[in-house]
């Protein structure tokens, strides 16, 4: 675990990533998953999906 003034890196051992995802999401943009890459990808995909729900429809210019 490493730490500086604005952030810290947190390592946690879990049995699977499914159950920890809601908890990680609840931190919103204050948390970034560094690894495993698969979970990082899943989280990006999930945030994209959430953003698409609320994004104003862009007009074609």
């Amino acid at each position: 675990m490493s730490e500086d003034e604005s952030s810290f890196v947190y390592e946690i051992t879990v049995n699977g990533t499914t159950e920890i995802k809601p908890w990680l999401r609840s931190f919103g943009s204050s948390c970034e998953i560094l690894e495993p890459v698969q979970l990082r990808r899943e989280m990006i995909a999930e945030w994209k999906e959430i953003r698409s729900y609320y994004e104003p429809v862009r007009e074609n210019i």
Partner: protein
Amino acid sequence: MNLFEKIFNYQLLSRLEDSGAFMVTSHERSWLKTMLEHPAAADAFTADTLSKLRSVLEPDTVMDTSLHLIEKAGTIERQVYHPLLRPLRRHIMSKSGIRMTYEVKNGRVNKGHAGLPYKLEYSMVKREWYLLWYHTRRRAFMSTRLNKIHAVEPEPLNPRAAESMLKRIGNVLESRQKEVVIEIVRAYNEELSRILYAFSCFEKKVEYAADTDTYRVTVKLPGDEMEYLLSKLRFLGKRVRVTKGDYLQSRLLEASTKALERYGVSSEG
């Protein structure tokens, strides 16, 4: 179970309900017996009720959770049952006034203030009980932690005055309510019970539209509880979509945009 059995069971259950009786399973009985061993049980029941419950549960076994459960990283249990809950609930039910001595933020003590209590509320965030009451002289809506109450006594109040005060309180509180509509994204219909569980502490109405196979949850809540609902929505992620509620929609857009920026994904991505 066949249809006739179902009808029979339903009739049996509704008859039991009419007679004021209810059924408990042996699991529930042994759970209750275990709970009665908690130190807070002495505050939660009168001595009479407690000894009656204990004698009724005599033949049941205590649930030994230590064999199967290890609690890790639990939050500190500050308050299970506050001794003031019972008397305050009685005052609320009998629409009685109160005279109360309580501590305010800077440690100052307000002595013998008169008011009308109307609700006991448990904060899921602070994990503590609050009394919501109307301060008669200041005409203000108060929220006081039970832990900050030094003394409280009932004070007779003209029933008609109490009625009209409660009506006014109800109207003001109603006007502060906000309505939010949350749609469950159809692909996650299977997770319905889990999703609804996340909203279990809110006043809500669930509707199902058969033509589109969609569940819609209408939540009514006071404006100051929006942040708590927001945390639940972030928790559920893409399973739900807010279809009515400008504030929540903008906050969720903000959270997702900022999170993606952190991952280095631009808004065009």
